[in-house]
């Protein structure tokens, strides 16, 4: 099995193993919450923060809520257990396709959709974001919420997002990046590379790129209206909260019931905090529009 095949298998197994415990403690959104930097965040705020993240991303990208202009078909690339898919389908009254590498996630996502009366609006399949099983130009909104960090080939990832986007569609990428390199730098410093490598091993992440790299890719594909921002300060309370939840009695006993991959992931959480604190890791949003 080639390197990419192994990465895919690792990602699928990681999420097959850990999705249940995440959902148990955190619910059906598997992404960072968006917080007001001036206010303290309590545990009960996290779910609404995760929903706020979705709304802030849509607002940043300028997605219209107007009945005629709103997206009618969407794709959720790297959908987890479908939190975003169901939320967006419900919000816009649209049809949503979603893909994940994890069969267990796809199953759970479909079951949740059915129980929420959304089985007709959202459908999930096991598929590769680098080879999306959709024809060109199908979707008005192309959504990638914290899945980009798993993509080993960022060029292919971004060009697939652009390919399946309809003319005039909006593409939204929210992802972990490393800091932009200064003009004199050819690469990150050795200690920075070392820290990222440890995180990559725990979370089945291939090499990281910067926000600027994403912007360049979108530019090279002649996409328009390209915007990007560093939202690291708005997600700061998230990792400490996840760590605290893992250290509760429920968290610890659940972890022991899952498997080594999940435990390794949990142990790597302080590394994420370290990366943010060193301004090495950035929580980035990059959006654009496909020309009409």
């Amino acid at each position: 099995m080639g390197k990419e095949g192994e990465l895919q298998k690792g990602i699928a197994e990681f999420y097959d193993e850990s999705s249940g415990i995440w959902e148990d403690i955190w619910g059906d959104h598997m992404h960072h919450g968006f917080y007001d930097p001036k206010l303290p965040a309590s545990l009960s705020d996290h779910r609404s923060a995760q929903i706020r993240m979705i709304e802030e991303a849509l607002a940043f990208a300028g997605v219209s809520e107007d009945l005629l202009k709103r997206p009618k078909s969407l794709v959720d690339v790297g959908c987890g257990i479908g939190g975003s898919s169901r939320y967006l389908a419900r919000k816009y009254g649209a049809k949503c396709q979603a893909i994940t590498l994890s069969p267990i996630q796809a199953q759970r996502a479909q079951a949740l959709a059915a129980s929420q009366g959304l089985a007709d609006s959202v459908s999930f399949q096991v598929a590769d974001a680098l080879e999306q099983p959709f024809p060109d130009g199908k979707f008005d909104l192309v959504w990638s919420m914290e899945s980009g960090e798993h993509m080993p080939d960022k060029t292919k990832f971004v060009s697939e997002l652009a390919r399946v986007a309809a003319p005039g569609a909006t593409i939204i990428i929210v992802t972990w990046c490393h800091r932009d390199l200064s003009p004199s730098e050819g690469s990150l410093k050795p200690d920075e590379e070392k820290l990222l490598k440890k995180i990559c091993d725990a979370y089945y992440l291939p090499a990281w790129c910067s926000t600027a790299d994403y912007v360049n890719l979108l530019q090279s594909l002649s996409l328009q209206d390209i915007k990007s921002a560093d939202w690291s300060e708005y997600v700061a309370p998230f990792w400490p909260a996840v760590i605290r939840s893992a250290l509760t009695w429920k968290g610890v006993t659940s972890l022991f019931r899952t498997g080594w991959k999940t435990i390794k992931g949990a142990l790597a959480m302080p590394l994420m905090m370290k990366g943010y604190n060193k301004n090495l890791i950035k929580f980035a949003i990059i959006t654009c529009r496909k020309p009409e």
């Binding site: 895919q8 069969p103 479909q110």
Partner: protein, 126 residues
């Protein structure tokens, strides 16, 4: 809406259905939803798919005027939303490749030799 994405396949849509187990589910009728979806549907593909599941009530061709007919909408609703493939496969019309469907979830992952990767191809020659 899925299409075959094996490299080099130019005619990968629509996928044919191989039905081992199909299920009919009750879904609330929503005329507006159907009218919005109609322009996005490849009608012939829907007719063929419904037929493979044993539903032959759809007309071979459809125009937007037909959306005014309640009878037509009910048939459209049934085919689009209430018929589900639980177990079976989706088949590429060009290569015959089977994408398995299990518990209603299609697995569209390609095998490594179905993905054309320039570097991989060149490396494998050495």
């Amino acid at each position: 809406m899925l299409s075959c994405n094996i490299k080099g396949v130019t005619n990968g849509f629509p996928l044919r259905l191989e039905v081992e187990k199909s299920v009919e589910k009750e879904v609330d009728f929503n005329a507006d939803f159907l009218k919005n979806m109609f322009p996005k549907i490849e009608w012939k593909a829907l007719v063929d798919a419904a037929r493979s599941m044993g539903y032959t009530e759809l007309p071979n061709e459809a125009e937007s005027q037909m959306l005014d007919s309640e009878e037509f909408l009910k048939k459209f609703h049934h085919a689009l939303l209430q018929l589900h493939l639980e177990e079976g496969a989706l088949i590429c019309p060009e290569t015959g490749r089977r994408f398995p469907v299990s518990k209603g979830i299609p697995n569209m992952l390609l095998h490594e030799d179905e993905v054309f990767d320039e570097v991989y191809q060149i490396e494998s020659q050495f």
